[in-house]
């Protein structure tokens, strides 16, 4: 792809190259899903090397495929379709999905989602002031000869997203992310992974 350089005289042109696409959506939670999630209790503690909090990932990895979550799954799938179109990717389907609860001091250590294409975090319910989801810059490694004197789009080591109720964050699964210790009583997340539709069906 060619960078388009303006015709005729100009003084300066800046190009923001090779960015990573993170998308935020507002996805309303239906009454049926809300009741189901409020009564969801099949949770176990995270292994300590992953974080501190409760999760369904040890027992339930198909949360969004349950009939009670059908409407939410359709909404999230529509957002994934849009992400794929914007990013130039082949369409994906929701694969594994699971429920997470972080209470006070709950934390998730840095990780990424291998084998997945796009990952997502949907917040059906979060208290105000809950811990942000933090993405780590994928271009930190080569910046060994420069000193940053202010945070800009180009120097940021990480990017924080404060969760809100009914917010969905979509991001490439290869992007490292984590959350810092939570200071509120309730921070609920539905996490999801995806796979390419036709490609995986052919295999």
């Amino acid at each position: 792809m060619k960078a388009s350089i303006v015709d005729g005289p100009f003084r300066k042109a800046d190009y923001n190259l090779f960015p990573t696409l993170v998308q935020l959506y507002h996805v309303p939670l239906g009454t049926k899903e809300n009741i189901f999630l409020e009564n969801y209790t099949d949770l176990k503690e995270w292994p300590s090397d992953i974080g501190k909090g409760k999760t369904s990932s040890q027992t339930e990895m198909n949360l969004l495929h349950r009939p009670e979550m059908a409407k939410l799954k359709v909404s999230i799938t529509s957002c994934l379709d849009e992400y794929c179109k914007d990013a130039g990717l082949q369409q994906v389907e929701i694969g594994k999905s699971w429920f997470n609860l972080q209470e006070e001091d709950g934390v998730i250590h840095k990780h990424r989602h291998e084998l997945s294409i796009i990952s997502g975090a949907y917040y059906p319910y979060v208290d105000d002031g809950s811990a942000p989801l933090i993405f780590e810059s994928p271009v930190l490694a080569p910046k060994m000869s420069e000193i940053h004197n202010k945070v800009t789009h180009y120097t940021a080591n990480n990017m924080e997203f404060e969760p809100r109720p009914e917010m969905l964050i979509l991001f490439p699964s290869w992007l490292y992310h984590y959350s810092i210790p939570n200071k509120t009583k309730k921070r609920v997340t539905i996490s999801l992974n995806t796979y390419h539709k036709t490609l995986d069906k052919q295999n």
């Binding site: 060619k2 190009y15 090779f18 309303p28």
Partner: protein
């Protein structure tokens, strides 16, 4: 269904281009390049000549090019200010001449902060400067079906006479085989301005006199 959304183009890499065509030193720089005696073969440059021999060359420090040095240095300051990194100082500089069939292998400029390519003369249709995506190694599990800002592996910066392109030194880049007779580039590296005293040969000509005036 009402779905509001926001795009975040996270962690981009800044490339700045500056239009310097018609600079007062343009003619002088061409004369210097075309009469330069100490060119040779560089391992990265094929079918061309380079003044990069030892790696400590300071072509832009020639007294006859001081105004061009100052202009390029000012562009570096604009870049670092925009990017949010410490000011830099031009450290080494050299020129490459590519002829028909000439190319430059992929490389990056270790131990430099930002680098640049200034084109004092290029014939129309000359090869682009190709900048590689620093995040492409993460794309091993995705299947792209259309090219976007988020999945491209490289971008081509098409040179024209007078163009200056500044980019982070860690960004891998190359020049594919050139189809024209003449493509001249002045390349340069930089160090942190605050570190300039560690280098005995570096001067900031905006504050310090040229070494030719040393008594």
């Amino acid at each position: 269904m009402s779905v509001d959304f926001v795009h975040h183009q996270a962690f981009p890499t800044l490339i700045s281009t500056f239009e310097l065509e018609g600079h007062k030193d343009e003619k002088t720089v061409l004369e210097l390049i075309e009469t330069f005696e100490k060119t040779g073969n560089h391992r990265l440059v094929h079918e061309g000549q380079s003044s990069y021999i030892k790696g400590d060359e300071q072509f832009l420090n020639d007294k006859r090019l001081i105004d061009l040095w100052k202009t390029i240095q000012e562009c570096c300051d604009v870049y670092t200010q925009e990017a949010g990194i410490d000011y830099t100082l031009i450290s080494t500089s050299w020129f490459n001449c590519l002829y028909e069939g000439g190319l430059v292998d992929p490389h990056r400029h270790e131990r430099s902060v930002i680098s640049g390519a200034y084109y004092p003369y290029v014939e129309p249709g000359s090869s682009p400067l190709v900048l590689e995506s620093p995040i492409q190694s993460n794309f091993m599990n995705t299947n792209s079906i259309s090219l976007t800002n988020y999945n491209r592996y490289e971008i081509e910066c098409v040179p024209k006479t007078g163009l200056l392109c500044i980019f982070p030194s860690w960004l891998r880049h190359s020049v594919p085989r050139n189809p024209t007779q003449k493509r001249y580039t002045i390349s340069f590296n930089t160090v942190r301005h605050m570190d300039r005293n560690y280098y005995t040969t570096l001067r900031d000509y905006r504050m310090e006199k040229h070494e030719s005036l040393d008594s």
